[in-house]
Amino acid sequence: MRIETISQLKDLRKTNLERMNKHPRTVLICCGPGCLANGAKKISDEFHKVIKDKKIKGFSVEALKETGCHGFCEQGPLVIIEPDGVFYTKVKVRDVEEIIETSIKKKEIVERLLYTNAADGKTYTDYKEIPFYKLQNRIALRNIGKIRQCDIDEYIAIGGYEAMAKALSKMKPQEVIDEVIASGLRGRGGGGFPTGRKWATCAKIDDEPRYVICNGDEGDPGAFMDRAIMEGDPHSVIEGMIIAAWAVGSHNGYIYVREEYPLAVVNLQKAIEQAQALGLLGENILGTGFDFDIHVSRGGGAFVCGESSALMLSVAGEVGEPRAKYIRSVQKGLFDKPTVLNNVESYANVPVIIAKGGKWFSSIGTAKSTGTKAFSLVGKVRNTGLIEVPMGTTLKQIIYDIGGGVIKDRPFKAVQTGGPSGGCLPEEKLDLSVDFDTLTQAGSMMGSGGMIVMDDRTCVVDVAKYFLQFLIDESCGKCVPCREGLYQLHALAVAVSEGRATEEDLDKMEKLSENIVIGSLCGLGKSGPNPFLSTIRYFRDEYLAHIRDKRCPAGVCRALITYKIDPEICNGCMACISACAHEAITGKKKEPHFINQDKCDKCGACYAVCQHNAIEVV
């Protein structure tokens, strides 16, 4: 059925809402990437099977919903019983029967599956009360984990496409732009350029056709915010894009999504087809006379294709290499035509801004960074997962209040924000407010929103080495400073980690970094030395320990460490002997063991298995 008018959209919303509310209780099964990897699909299948077999009064398989990422990945697979928000964690297939018997047939709770907060030992029933969720404010992620993923009926039922209808019928393009400018929304891909200003510039350029592109090439290691949106709530992105197209006068849009997100590709494609079938994409949308359609363009997995000019070349079918942007892409972008390119999360914010107004949006967050920001909280933090917090929340609040602190209460060392091109911030920076300008000032950056927590067992030289290696592999290889400079910077970092470097080498690294920054063609190269620059800024002592004392304080750099067994503590359990792949450990049962340093590969397997803390790293 095609929706021809706005009143038809309203009618459809009413019908869909009635259908959605038909069931007094619904079961939400999180099918985000984390939960899927832990068997969420099997759990969902089991729910479907058992519900079909049991024939419960007032409940059918229609009340089972596979949702996008609910956020609390650490506790997955998650099952939530609405409307009470009963939150079951680490659910297994064998728990399904019990959940149905207890929480669906009766109104009781399976206590053992509830979440217990490690910090205070408190057990929670309703997820909205859990600190992890309570401190969040979800705008971009508003629907994910609440509605069936990639379901246009539910999206419309909860008010989806109404903002689009409002923009197309009641607002002139300039009014839409003004609203977005008033909201203060800045690019969520990391650059932080004011979205409204970008649209305004594009709209003014006297050239046709214009294009609207969505950047879904999320490539930072450990980042999965955009993935969650594209998989779980693709319609919010599509709606945001239609509004953008209306504002700048475009009739063709592209969503560039990386091939490594197969479900995102499928769901976006499906969502576009659903929207086309209802006439929300295509010609004469809602009878307003506005035409707009979206195509999915799949990327081959190059990190650099997340850079706007490389992305546009890749969409056009050419090699994805950045070009100099002395002429901006809003002027000459895709196919050399005016192009607006925004990140997935930016588009997901747009419908809310249009619905509730720019003023409302700008009241959240800080003066210069308005609204909220989604982060993927990963690394050595207790509550890994997907979060969204108002701008201006401090790193401490994110890591300790939402994240629950460092795993095993080990000392906190650093938090890496902004992906490979971002930087590491030490403990004394934990009170910094998370917004575009503060993070950049501190030598890191907002980036797309990856946040990696590190404990005292993380070596900053090793971290710099890791990210530099990533950037060497992902550099497009076009310009010399990035291709050759990062390679040499990495070589020097390796020398530091192996105790071969001198203090002059550190100066050389800083000089080289400076030249890479000013000399590189695109943002990847310009921010490429950041893993080194931010770690040397805050952890120079640790670099010096590697150089002067030939010592790795965190006990990570293999060339500089030795594993030793304390014969006083070792009780001869032989666990380390069987763990050692190099047969480097000898000893009899119930007698202290000994590591043969000539054979030891320093893999740390013995250290990991020893239950008695008898093995030390020196």
Binding site: A302, V304, V319, R323, A324, Y326, I327, I472, D473, E474, S475, C476, G477, K478, C479, V480, P481, R483, E484, G485, Y487, Q488, A491, K508, K511, L512, N515, I518, G519, S520, L521
Partner: protein, 258 residues
């Protein structure tokens, strides 16, 4: 016309012109390895980077590749500021680490006072500096026989699948424009070999000298409408014929007959 200041001198330039062209016209020598008039500017070698600023920028400076930066009214350009020289030196040093065997790079490095690289020589480095001139010229000619393969530090120039390229016509444009002369070819016994593909060279029916490959002649004939007969003679014999024709016109031919 726009007017701008380069190294303290006020100069005029056409709107849309790139800085490098203006700088070179002034006789200022700045290096550029990936630049060629025949193809679009690329900005890969970064050697032509210059420092730019404007009165209105309140002291803020930017570093841009002059090959790609269009001239702007009131722009103030420095082609040899301390920072620019430092950058160029670093770039050449890095290139030298990649291709220590290239005489061209060594010579350029020496000009900037770099005799040996201060970095670790790249393992398996060859003399290719990945300037992309070969692939861009090939593409500009419409053949697209070679391209860059892979990315990052292991990127290389190669034909598809690293096999003899089906679209190559053996025109040598890649090899002859390579700034470090990495692309090898041979012309032996009327045969040309390049990129692992062997071509028959046409011979001049007048003097017997070898000319261009049959494939290149056919491509030119097809795309530019030049008749195939034209390629039966070499350039020298074409010139000879032309001079004879010209002679005939002015009447010298008759004298020759008598």
């Amino acid at each position: 016309m726009v007017s701008l200041t380069i190294n303290g001198r006020v100069v005029q330039a056409e709107e849309g012109e790139m800085l490098l062209a203006v700088i070179r016209r002034m006789g200022i020598d700045i290096p550029a390895l990936c630049h060629h008039e025949a193809v679009e500017p690329f900005g890969a070698c970064r050697l032509c980077t210059v420092e730019i600023t404007k009165e209105s920028w309140n002291g803020w400076k930017n570093y841009v590749t002059s090959c790609l930066y269009p001239v702007e009214q009131d722009l103030i350009v420095h082609t040899h500021s301390a920072k620019v020289i430092e950058l160029r030196k670093t770039l050449i040093d890095l290139l030298l680490a990649r291709c220590p065997g290239s005489p061209e790079i060594r010579e350029m490095a020496a000009q900037y006072g770099v005799n040996e690289t201060s970095y670790e020589p790249v393992v398996n480095g060859d003399n290719c500096i990945l300037c992309g001139l070969c692939t861009r010229i090939c593409s500009r000619l419409g053949f697209n026989a070679i391209s860059t393969v892979g990315r990052g530090h292991t990127k290389e120039v190669a034909p598809p699948m690293k096999e003899a390229p089906p679209d190559c016509v053996g025109c040598l444009s890649c090899a002859l424009n390579c700034p470090t002369h990495v692309i090898k070819f041979t012309d032996v016994n009327g045969k040309r070999t390049i990129w692992g593909k062997t071509f028959e060279l046409l011979t001049c029916k007048e003097c017997g000298a070898t000319t261009i490959t049959r494939e290149f002649a056919e491509a030119l004939s097809e795309r530019r409408g030049i008749p195939m007969e034209y390629f039966e003679k070499c350039d020298a014999c074409h010139r000879k014929e032309l001079s004879l024709t010209m002679g005939a016109v002015v009447g010298w031919a008759r004298e020759e007959q008598s």
